[in-house]
Amino acid sequence: MTKTAEKVLLKGNHAIAKAAINAGCQCYFGYPITPQNEIGEYLSVEMPNRGRVFLQAESEIAAINMLLGAAATGTRAMTSSSSLAIALMQEGISYIAADNIPAVVVSVMRAGPALGYIFPSQGDYFQTVKGGGNGDYKVLTLAPSNVQEMIDYTYKAFHLAHKYRTIVFLLADGLLGQMMEPAVLYDYPYEDIDNSSWALDGAKDRPGRWIGSIHRSEEVLERKVLELFAKYDVIKQNEVEYETMLTDDAEILITAFGSVARIAKAAIKKAREAGIKAGLFRPISLWPFPTEELNKMARGKKIVLDIEMNMGQMVEDVKIAVNGEAKVEFFGRPAGFYFTPDEIFEEIKKVMEGLK
């Protein structure tokens, strides 16, 4: 139960797979797609070694529904995939959300639209946070920015999924999935959560249980959705997570998530050396988005510069959060190219020049 375990050089995708095993994940279902194949490959060996389930599904559509079935029995289960294949899962995601089923989905973003290519990308912020499935539901989304956090937030994803009986996404990208970095694989730090009050395991000495989303009465359907959103309110109160760096005296506040945030940190250090008071606000929970926290942080800042590896997605939530407290600008480029710290530093300089 300690972090004193030794540091090891770990690939991001392997870190997720190892953390899933430590978190007690009993079933993994998935279909191959780059850049996340190492997760399935690793688990195909290590899950059966532990008497657990690894099953290569015939499609991502099958995989998400196998996950639905396994997780409906209260079993800790997950799938992993990427972008266009996460798109295929959206119907199942909506069902899992509506059904209050605890499930973990790892999304290692690649470049789109459509087939695009396997380069890292942040083009699926909307897909994850705004949902591609039908109806009113939310996806609790955690965005790590280094290999250590792939472990931390895989653990947290399993914990939150079961704590709230909800679907949780770990949203990474090809850079984080493919890179190696020293990290500590400590034990799963959360308590087991009792699911005996709802899980399907055969109606023995109790009435049958039904996990489903069809409600033929307007009143019942409305009540179910309101209950879902009451749960989301609790999640919003408890689970907002973000990181800040050098924000106290900052004149320019950079907002960025995931792998871009780590690059932005280096750019901010450069800016500080050049006498520009720059700071970072990094949402870690993309939903629930740290709206109030960012609003407070933006007060008194000259400008908020949102940086993403896409054409502008999170910036919409940033603008809602900032809500006029400061001007919001966006700097992004579509997937396939990585920002360099210099490139972001130059943009910071340009934006600050523009304020004069």
Binding site: G174, L175, Q178, M180, E181, P182, R262, T340
Partner: protein
């Protein structure tokens, strides 16, 4: 704190073990409590027969594991020289496996180091060790990590059951670093 960062691209044919030596130097850096990232090229390049990885070693969290303009390139074959020679940062260094590259130097603002790694490895009796010869020469030249760390990492990676392989790799480390210390390289 001023961020000091060294970026290294290691490139060669698939099968020359470029990813392996990338991981080896990353482990060295980790053992020396430095920040380090290792990033492979993946996808089309992988399928095209060449492979490369980028290693960044720093005294603070590495910003970007991917670098378009590295400080150092370790090129194990001719294609790798052609691909990366023009991308090296001014003042940077290109370490060339001269057994497989006989071209002319295209730049005057970077340093060139030539290691006949295949010949050295062949003399040891294991051509596959050319990668370790190259890495050892690189470490000896740049001192980014310690040669002792490399020896330790190699000992950890190669299990006791493969004593002969370990011996050969240790010899490769020795010969690579010795070659750098020869007068022609300085």
């Amino acid at each position: 704190m001023t961020v000091k960062e060294a970026s290294i691209i290691i490139s060669g044919y698939g099968g020359q073990g470029v990813l392996f030596i990338g991981m080896a130097i990353s482990n060295c850096a980790m053992d020396e409590n430095k920040y380090v990232t290792w990033m492979p090229s993946y996808g089309a390049e992988m399928r095209g027969g060449t492979a490369n990885c980028t290693v960044v070693i720093a005294n603070d969290e590495v910003a970007s594991p991917y670098q378009t303009n590295p400080d150092y390139v370790i090129a194990l074959n001719a294609q790798s020289v052609e691909k990366f020679e023009m991308k090296i940062k001014s003042g940077g260094t290109l370490i060339v496996n001269s057994s497989l590259y006989k071209g002319h130097e295209k730049r005057t603002d970077i340093n060139y180091v030539y290691i006949p790694a295949n010949e050295i490895a062949a003399k040891i009796g294991e051509i596959k060790c050319a990668n370790v010869v190259m890495l050892s020469a690189f470490i000896e030249k740049t001192k980014i990590v310690k040669i002792e760390s490399l020896k330790k990492v190699i000992r950890n990676v190669i299990t006791a059951s493969k004593a002969k392989l370990l011996e050969i790799n240790e010899l490769a480390i020795q010969k690579g670093s010795e070659y750098i210390r020869l007068p022609i390289c300085n």
